[in-house]
């Protein structure tokens, strides 16, 4: 089953896209699959919470999975961090995320 997720890209344009919940996909991969950020500027570490290139701001009220120590530590070192910052690669797409709105953080 697909859900709707709205992604505001780094130019400020909003894209509402269909996101599959049965593909073991995370938000970083979703952004890449729709090419909403140029390759090489997102998901650089491959999704291991070892870079902050997929940092995004969560704009809607959704219950997101808890931050792991790795994600928390990376965000402690990242730039442009705000209270609603998360790493897209650490958020799996599940049906609970229907209607989620995120904004991509600027490129470091």
């Amino acid at each position: 089953m697909d859900i709707k997720i709205t992604i505001i890209d780094r130019e400020g344009e909003a894209h509402t896209v269909d996101a599959p919940t049965d593909m073991n996909m995370n938000l970083m991969e979703l952004v890449r699959s729709y090419e909403l950020a140029p390759e090489g500027t997102i998901g650089i570490c491959g999704g291991m919470a070892m870079c902050a290139s997929c940092q995004c701001y969560v704009l809607s009220e959704h219950n997101l999975p808890e931050m792991t120590d790795d994600e928390d530590a990376m965000l402690a070192e990242a730039f442009f961090v705000q209270n609603n910052s998360r790493l897209g690669c650490q958020i799996q797409i599940t049906s609970e995320l229907d209607g989620l709105q995120i904004q991509l953080a600027p490129e470091e």
Binding site: G40, C45, D69, A73, E77, F79, V81
Partner: protein, 350 residues
Amino acid sequence: MIKTDILIIGAGPTGLFTVFEAGLLKLKCHLIDALPQPGGQCAELYPKKPIYDIPAFPEVLAGDLVDNLMEQIKPFEPSFTLGERAETIEKQDDGTFIVTTNKGTKHHAPVVAIAGGLGSFEPRKPLIDNLAFYEDKGVSYMIKNPEIYRNQKVVISGGGDSALDWSIFLADVASEVTLVHRRNEFRGHLDSVDKVKELKDLGKINLITPAEVEKIYGEEKVEGVVVKRGDEEINLAVDHFIPLFGLSPKLGPIANWGLEIEKNAIKVDNSLDYQTNIPGIYAIGDVNTYPGKLKLILCGFHEATLMCQSAYQRIHPDKKYVMKYTTVGGVTGFDGTKKEAPKAVVKAID
């Protein structure tokens, strides 16, 4: 001048395996890498993480994969220029190339294989307006010679292992060490965190958290920084500012070598040999792109193998090479070693 047959830029898994495939063809390799050790991302970012999609290895730690590759290529005696970044390339009249690093080391080879992965690892720089102006004038992103900080006032920012370790080390060298971190908690080995606390209590490290260095000032060089903690602005007179926020990969100078770039990667001819738009320069592994490209180690190994066949033809245009299985031909190292399958003994019974 270092001379070799195939000059490999990038000593990650793909670059290392290239040495093996080239060695089977009796071609010598030299590798350049910006990191101080071979292994690329596998060694630098996630040596303790398992990889599950290396054929015939149900599970292998990234660090062990690198160790195994180093063992596998040992007979072919690869040489390395480590801790230096390939900066410029010049094509010679005879079609060979000279590659010079940021430290001026020159390398000469008929074939260049770029196996640069995500690019060279560069320090992550904090977003401070005039930061670039003070680089090498009091601002540095890594500590090469700790002696220059003797009896100086130093401010370090960051919250990971390197920020902690250097704060501890410099506490005995510098006249004053201040550690600034955005959070109250530090991420690092437990004993380093404890040691920093201990040095703070002894008054040897001045700890400012949760805070960030916001400004640098000074006429010609760093004379001080402004640290922001909440609404409070703290003015610190210091001689050195060392931001330690880890490394991130950048394609870097390779992007200016006249190679065709697409999606931050180097375009290659995947129907043949992974050659770039400049004959004699190949790109293999994560650094290249072509229709259907997948950034996987196993794909890098495949690309390296095909690339070496093409490199052989370029280096020896008049020779014909026939592919041999290692099981049949064995592996003859440049170091005089020979590995081969034991021969069956045929003996008649009288």
